[in-house]
């Protein structure tokens, strides 16, 4: 039980919390009278019937403020208060402890040695909710926006510019408090400095935007990790937002939390229909929009954008994968949960229904990967390759590890620089002549990410093209999910 000692504001001495509807409290009532008679400074707070216990002059706590502030979970609870702080806490009736703590012997004549208590009224579901809003909301620092009687909530939020174009869930204090239950982190903790306005973003602000996005509380740790990862200098969400290119953050979730919160890594994993996938990615975008101030037409200068800028989040299918998960490959211990952020610019599916050997399938994938950004571009653009279960089966049966696939792709993705140079093939676009000597790789080292996801039917994989890679653009970033 957590006692907020400094907040309790109880006088020094003893405080006992009771309710008349609790049989143990009724049995303990004579003990309280006895303590009074013995001159023990004991204040009794009653949660339901102000006349209970008779003969004790109990303090009316039917509004439960004192019980809530003291963190009472069981009645009776006996607190010993010294110097404004709670020095000792007893729950229920235990004769030996009550005698020891009060210093009064022979307590509870006729009572058994031990009797368990009942739940404090503060824990009744409807009461807990009411108290959380009335008292817990005082912990929330965000500015209150009051809606007029005639204002429609959904319209009001559109008008204030809080949405991405789709309706959002009103962030009421009750909803935000429930959302904050999803993390053990303090609401005032700064999660990240969010571009483009470079604003300190607290756990509370993330929670408010997670409510807007439609998240459940258990998704919040994933959203927090995604915000942290996006706002690193390496990921550079400022650039991802500001660029005229189509890119937006893609969130790939690894580890046990994905299944625990019900994420989709299977059929239609990159599509609509799963609440966790949809709202986690959306919450990140709403943080950038609302906290960071990044909006289309403002700092967001995308020529086309892409539908993934509403939300782009999925889990890797680790269970069926022949390979180590993406986060493990990127240094995280197996069995831990993580997000990896990739600056992705949309989806290009790849069909190959005929390859039955890894050699043939790798050639198919390599040929398709050449088209990322432009077939004559090289080294400057990353890509994320999403291999489906049916394609992964070909590699598993052929005995190819992920490292082997990567190594083979590296070889297949080299082309003579002369073919890629500006002007070559009658196409002005291409790599500068200075880079066109010898053979040129399509991707820089580390510039091709490979994950396993998708439905079990379909000899397809998917390419998510990236944005400008490396220090001038965006590096993929992996962050552990802290719960």
């Amino acid at each position: 039980m957590v006692i907020y000692a400094s907040h309790v504001g109880l006088p020094d001495g003893y405080a006992v919390f009771v309710k008349a509807s609790c049989p143990t409290c009724r049995e303990v009532a004579p003990v309280l009278r006895r303590l009074r008679e013995a001159g023990v400074p004991v204040s009794v707070y009653t949660q339901d019937d102000p006349s209970f216990p008779s003969g004790v002059e109990a303090i009316d706590d039917t509004d439960l403020h004192r019980s809530y502030e003291a963190g009472v979970e069981i009645v009776p609870t006996l607190l010993r208060v010294t110097g404004g702080a709670v020095a000792e806490t007893l729950q229920g009736w235990l004769r030996a402890d009550w005698e020891r703590v009060t210093g009064v012997p022979g307590l509870g004549d006729g009572l058994p040695d031990h009797r368990a208590g009942c739940a404090s009224r503060t824990l009744d579901p409807e009461v807990a909710e009411m108290l959380a809003v009335r008292l817990g909301a005082r912990r929330l620092a965000a500015r209150r926006v009051e809606l007029g009687d005639l204002e429609d909530e959904a319209e009001a939020m559109f008008e204030r510019g809080w949405t991405d174009g789709l309706p959002v869930v009103p962030p009421t204090p009750a909803r935000v408090l429930r959302m904050l239950e999803g993390t053990s982190r303090h609401p005032e903790e700064v999660v990240a400095v969010v571009p483009p306005d470079l604003v300190d973003c607290t756990v509370e602000k993330v929670a408010i935007n997670a409510v807007l996005a439609g998240c459940r509380p258990e998704y919040l740790p994933v959203v927090l990790a995604a915000v942290e990862a996006a706002c690193t200098d390496e990921f550079n969400v400022h650039g991802v937002l500001a660029t005229t290119w189509s890119a937006g953050p893609v969130v790939i979730v690894n580890g046990p939390i994905a299944a625990r919160v019900g994420m989709n890594s299977g059929g239609n994993a990159l599509g609509q229909g799963n609440r966790a996938n949809a709202t986690i990615g959306r919450a990140l975008q709403l943080v950038v929009r609302n906290v960071g101030g990044g909006r289309p037409g403002g700092v967001d200068r995308a020529t086309h954008g892409n539908p993934g800028k509403y939300t782009f989040c999925f889990a890797e299918d680790e269970q069926r994968s022949p390979w180590e998960p993406l986060a493990v490959e990127r240094g995280l211990a197996p069995g831990r949960s993580a997000v990896t952020l990739f600056a992705g610019s949309g989806l290009q599916p790849v069909v190959d229904q005929l390859s039955r050997t890894p050699e043939s399938l790798a050639r198919s994938l390599a040929a398709s990967l050449q088209a990322v950004a432009h077939p004559k571009q090289a080294l400057a653009w990353d890509a994320l390759l999403v291999v489906s279960p049916e394609h992964a089966r070909v590699f598993r049966e052929g005995g190819w590890s992920k490292a082997r696939l990567r190594q083979e792709l590296d070889g297949l993705l080299r082309r003579p620089g002369a073919e890629l140079a500006r002007g070559a093939g009658g196409i002005a676009e291409g790599i500068p002549a200075a880079l066109a000597d010898g053979e040129v790789s399509k991707f820089r080292p580390g510039g091709l990410l490979i994950v396993h996801a998708g439905g079990t039917a379909g000899l397809f994989s998917a390419i998510i093209g990236g944005w400008v890679s490396g220090a001038l653009g965006s590096e993929p970033v992996t962050r552990e999910v802290r719960e």
Partner: protein, 93 residues
């Protein structure tokens, strides 16, 4: 009826909190910073502006961001704020 309350999801920087610095009446006697954001050919535009301002007797200082994809470093922003009375930022493409 109790007013319905929502919690503000934004940075709470209302536009009223960030009034723009008034535009100078004239550039006479002022120092003007020219900020190149490092996009190709931004320098072409700024070079010409530099010529035109210098010809009018305006003192010009040149600055350049390390990359256009990231916000200007804090030191650079501070240096411009301290040394210049006005700044022209050149976008390009």
């Amino acid at each position: 009826m109790t007013p319905r309350q929502l919690l503000d999801p934004t940075s709470e920087r209302g536009p009223a909190d960030r009034p723009r610095t008034p535009r100078p009446e004239s550039l006479q006697g002022l120092t003007v910073g020219l900020l190149d954001i490092a996009k190709p050919r931004g320098d072409v535009f700024l070079d010409r502006l530099h010529e035109l301002l210098s010809a009018r007797g305006v003192e010009v200082l040149r600055f350049r961001k390390p990359t256009y994809t990231k916000p200007a470093p804090i030191d650079l922003r501070r240096e411009i704020a301290v040394r210049c009375d006005a700044v022209v930022e050149a976008l390009a493409d």
